[in-house]
Amino acid sequence: MTPTTRTRWAILSLTGPAYLWLACTIFLPIAAMLALSFLDKSPLVPKPASFTLANYGAFFGKPFYWSLTRWSIELGLWVTLFSFLIGYPAAYALAKRVKGRWREAIFLLIVLPFWSNALVRIFSWTMVLRSNGIIDLGVQSIFPGAPTVDLLFTYPAVVIGLVHSYLPYMILTCYIALQAIDDSLIEAGRSLGASKFTTFRRVVLPLSLPGIISGAALIFVPVIGSFMEPRILGGTKGATLGMNIEEQFTVTANWPLGAALSFILLAIVLVIFGILYPFLRKQGGAA
């Protein structure tokens, strides 16, 4: 064998297994799902299915699905906004104001829960939010006789749980962007007479924008596809597109409709990545 043929074989045998695996578990299934979304019968029905646009028609024709989609997008926006409001100052403090061992320790503590079980962390909030939970007990001890605080199965509960789940993403991406800003740029702004706030608004904020956008994308996308979190913390209220897709596959067994809804969800995700792509590119491999 010539060296180039040998190299080619080496590359093929090194990458082949991983990509064959991804093809069978990600890319072919997505293609199969696209095909199913245009069929009129679930594969669970042993009759031959034929082509139809009815599943997409159901989505575009019924206001119910529109409001589900709007709720999901709203939920995504709220969670992203609060993650930014809480996470950005924390990232700024870590990147610019805290140094050495403290920084390392706090950073690790922020990232750590992120790699623990998402379901368990959502479950843990039920202990805090329910009546007789920690918030309720706290309020009762400060204001005896106050009405019971029961946040469980409410919209705010879902937002709180999701912010808790995805906050580390925002802190991480903003931290990486903020740390890359040269301190001398900030000093230059200050010495040229800009106030602290102006320096922040005109120098720090624009330079950290790619980090904010990466964080927003990393949070918004999974939130609009979430179903477990709104189920556990929101109960039946504030149904999302994700919860409806789950139902189509597990309860009502209308797989073609579920597939169509999944594809609409995927389309929303693609549009978001399309809009944010120029910003994400700047951030490079950091996200």
Binding site: L22, R97, R121, T126, M127, I134, V221, A259, V269
Partner: protein, 271 residues
Amino acid sequence: MRNLADAGIRFYLILVLVFLYLPILVMAVLAFNKSPLYALPFEFDLVWFKALAENDRLLKAGLNSVLIALANTVIATSLGTMAAVAFGRYTFRGKTMMQALLFPPIAIPWLVIGTAMLVFFFWIGRAMGYPGIARGLHAILLGHVALSLPYVIFVVGARLNDYPKALEEAAATLGATPWQVFRRVSVPILAPGVVAAALFAFAVSFDQFVISYFLAPPGVTTLPVEIYTSIRKGFTPEINAISTIIILVSMGLMLIVARFYRFGGERSGNE
């Protein structure tokens, strides 16, 4: 003034940490509380851990979770490391494209991936005459490996990028046989990255809920799926007990990863 600002910053960071850890701590504490209705005052008791030890469903689900995570670790780490070596040591046409293909498994919502796998596996199964094979531990394992592969390739790849190919070429030029180059140069370079990647892969699988949920047939579950089912029936402190154990295992794993691999892609900490 400066001290005051610093104190304010510390206070804020502590508040953020309280937000992140308070619910987990409350849940863990209530796992040791005697009351089945989470009633206070707190009364220490191990009754829920004892109940756990006798709960066959949860134990079986736990065993399934561990077995899948171990199999996932072996498969994803081997296949991923091979691909990372190809990306790190060769330039070839289509490489950028192949690397871009690693993003969909991370960027597409798990709900979409999980349901798509269910549909595809079902069709394959029906074509073969066994629609039952669409779901089961094997299907869950297929899915977990797919999700872990990109992480393994990124982590091992980042490690390889820190060490130029020239190191291996130098060894070969100085007369080392290919085996010696591999054993004495490549393996020591790769090892910390591979260990970190393996721990990541274990964590990804052990914590994965959404994909397992759609691919689990009735009666066969993993721990997160079993917990989800129990939560929907109603809360009991038994769930707190198993959740506490899971959180400790996951966090312990990540602390070990942090020792091997600094977050943010810097060089490993053992040098």
